[in-house]
């Protein structure tokens, strides 16, 4: 067969995901560059921390929405409970940094396991409604247990313990830049971990479930197990992000576990590009930075965010990452054309 005839057709018909998977090394390098440059580019290290923390939550959300096709409004449950569990463990048991983070990840993962196991008993819109309902329940539970969570006032005086091994302090994290270092290292590990999960047998099956669940079941997969595990992994990452957010703010507000938090994480995921890990960084970065810039100018800036979301959904189906990709493809196509003409 004439390769010249097949190549352009392949470029056009190939699904967006196949392209992301083709150059994982390049995108990983780009991710590292962004993580290193971020505190130098954005106005403050605190803002940089916030971007990476939300990017983690978006990684978790992407595993469900981008790779499994599950639109979960439950992410706030995992984010909020991660924040509360880490904060309470540090306040009442005086646990160290890593124990607190591990507890938060475990709590997020476990809750996600339960939420997932219940919600995936239904599909489509009913699944979405179940995750919505569960988030509302979690919010009211947190609101009611105000002795523990501080209720409406939030949980105050959340410590930010130093990086320590066996009582010996290695790094103090009091300065925002030092804390950014911790967040950045964790983010890089989570990103690489997510890459591995997606490239595993499990990850390939998630894509199959997203593509055609009936067929996935017919070739022998118990799709429930895969969805529940995807939930648990997503919840663990999101719980960890919640804990870091509480440490960043020295405060765990009730809004962490509220429905708008789920929405915010979902919007970041969609704007960045579902099914792209690098898109997680783009989505979180865009929303956090826009929020920071616009809120200073206009208190109703969320309205503009709505416009941005509509624009992405209408004109950039693959999100910002998909937009960058098609731009790159067009330029590559134009370059090829000039080459051929010459």
């Amino acid at each position: 067969m004439n390769p010249k005839l097949t190549t352009p057709a392949r470029g056009d018909s190939r699904p967006a995901n196949a392209i992301f998977r083709r150059r994982p090394a390049a995108t990983t390098l780009a991710m590292l560059a962004v993580v290193i440059a971020l505190p130098l580019v954005v106005p403050s290290a605190t803002l940089a921390c916030e971007i990476l923390i939300f990017a983690m939550a978006v990684l978790g959300c992407n595993l469900l929405l981008g790779y499994t096709g599950l639109l979960s409004f439950g992410q706030a449950i995992f984010f909020g409970s991660g924040a509360y569990v880490a904060a309470l463990a540090m306040i009442h048991w005086q646990v160290g940094l890593f124990t607190a983070l591990l507890l938060a990840a475990a709590a997020g993962g476990l809750l996600a396991l339960l939420v997932g196991a219940l919600a995936i008993r239904r599909t489509g819109i009913y699944f979405v409604m179940l995750t919505l309902a569960l988030t509302q329940m979690a919010y009211f539970i947190a609101y009611t247990l105000s002795d523990w969570t501080g209720g409406d006032n939030g949980l105050l005086d959340v410590p930010r313990p130093p990086v320590a091994i066996g009582g010996f302090t290695l790094f103090d994290l009091e300065s925002p830049l030092a804390f950014y270092g911790l967040v950045a290292v964790l983010f890089v590990f989570l990103y690489l971990g997510a890459r591995r999960v997606i490239d595993s047998a499990f990850g390939s099956t998630l894509l199959a479930i997203r593509e055609n669940e009936a067929r996935a079941a017919a070739v022998g997969y118990d799709t429930r197990h895969f969805k529940i595990l995807a939930f648990a992994l997503s919840g663990a990452v999101t719980g960890l992000a919640g804990a870091l957010y509480a440490m960043l703010l020295n405060f765990a507000p009730l809004s962490n576990i509220e429905l708008p938090m789920s929405e915010q994480i979902l919007i970041m995921t969609i704007i960045g590009g579902t099914g792209s890990l690098f898109g997680s960084l783009l989505g979180a970065g865009t929303i956090v930075i826009l929020g920071d810039l616009l809120s200073a100018l206009w208190p109703r800036w969320m309205l503009l965010l709505g416009v941005a979301l509509i624009a992405v959904v209408m004109f950039m189906r693959g999100g910002l990452w998909g937009g960058l990709e098609s731009l790159g493809r067009r330029r590559a196509g134009a370059a090829r054309k000039t080459q051929e003409d010459a």
Binding site: S13, S200, A201, F202, A214, V219, G220, Y221, H225
Partner: protein, 250 residues
């Protein structure tokens, strides 16, 4: 006579008062190609759905290799060695042809497919199965294309190929030639005849010439029940079969 690989006893599937499958007792002998034919609405596809586990049956029993699988879900039947194709092509459209086959091969891995840490290279067996199957289906040249871009005939062949990837003991094929062009049908016929050498095949089919040329046993269904069962020769000559088919027209 050897014991059957798949047996149904008094299998019934009812939708309210209507019995789509009505007390069917089917015996599929190992190593044979067994076809189920019948006029439209005879209950062939309903029977098929009962066997794959897609429909919960209303009564009776299904035995696979002497084991009661009546209550087993669809994915659990694959693990025992039953694989199926779909009447309406059902592929992972946006994934490559190779990935479609690899996923089908990996489907029998059970819990091991939940391995979310090791890279796919550590499950190389499934990739090897996929490559073998690409050769066998003559799709190697198209291996990297999304399955959705194949021609209809090639999609039908991929559909059957995915069922074989599980290396099943029993292959359930639901109208593999449905919607295929005349040019592609001989390829499919050859493929099924070839499969009959290594697998036991249950074939639901409309196309008489295929059924007559490759089947060892034919079951003719009519109105949810078995009308006649026998060799192609016997079925061809049976007067009741003729009435059932021609009766519609007459």
């Amino acid at each position: 006579m050897t014991s059957p690989l798949l047996e149904t006893r008094d299998l019934t599937l009812a939708y309210g008062a209507f019995h789509a499958v009505d007390g069917v007792g089917l015996c599929i002998q190992p190593g044979t190609i067994h076809s189920v034919i019948g006029p439209n609405g005879a209950g062939k596809t309903s029977l098929f759905h009962c066997l794959t586990g897609e429909r919960r049956i209303s009564g009776g029993q299904i035995l696979f290799d002497g084991r009661d699988i009546t209550r087993r879900p669809a994915h659990g039947r694959v693990a025992l060695g039953m694989a199926r194709s779909f009447q309406i092509t059902s592929l992972f459209q946006n994934l490559s042809v190779r990935e479609n086959l690899r996923l089908a091969a990996q489907g029998t891995a059970g819990w091991r497919a939940l391995d979310f840490w090791r890279r796919l290279d550590s499950h190389r067996r499934h990739a090897a199965t996929a490559d073998e199957m690409l050769e066998r289906l003559a799709l190697t040249a198209r291996a990297e294309l999304p399955a959705g871009t194949l021609s209809h005939g090639q999609q039908r062949i991929l559909e059957v190929g995915m069922a074989i990837c599980a290396r099943p003991r029993l292959l359930l094929l639901d109208e593999p030639t449905s919607g295929m062009g005349v040019d592609d049908i001989p390829t499919m016929t050859r493929l099924i005849a070839e499969l009959g050498r290594d697998h036991t095949v249950l074939l639901i089919e409309h196309n008489m010439s295929i059924v007559m040329s490759i089947s060892d046993t034919i079951t003719v269904m009519n109105r949810g029940q078995i009308l006649v069962e026998g060799t192609p020769q016997a079925v061809r000559e049976d007067a009741r079969v003729r009435t059932a088919y021609l009766g519609e027209a007459a």
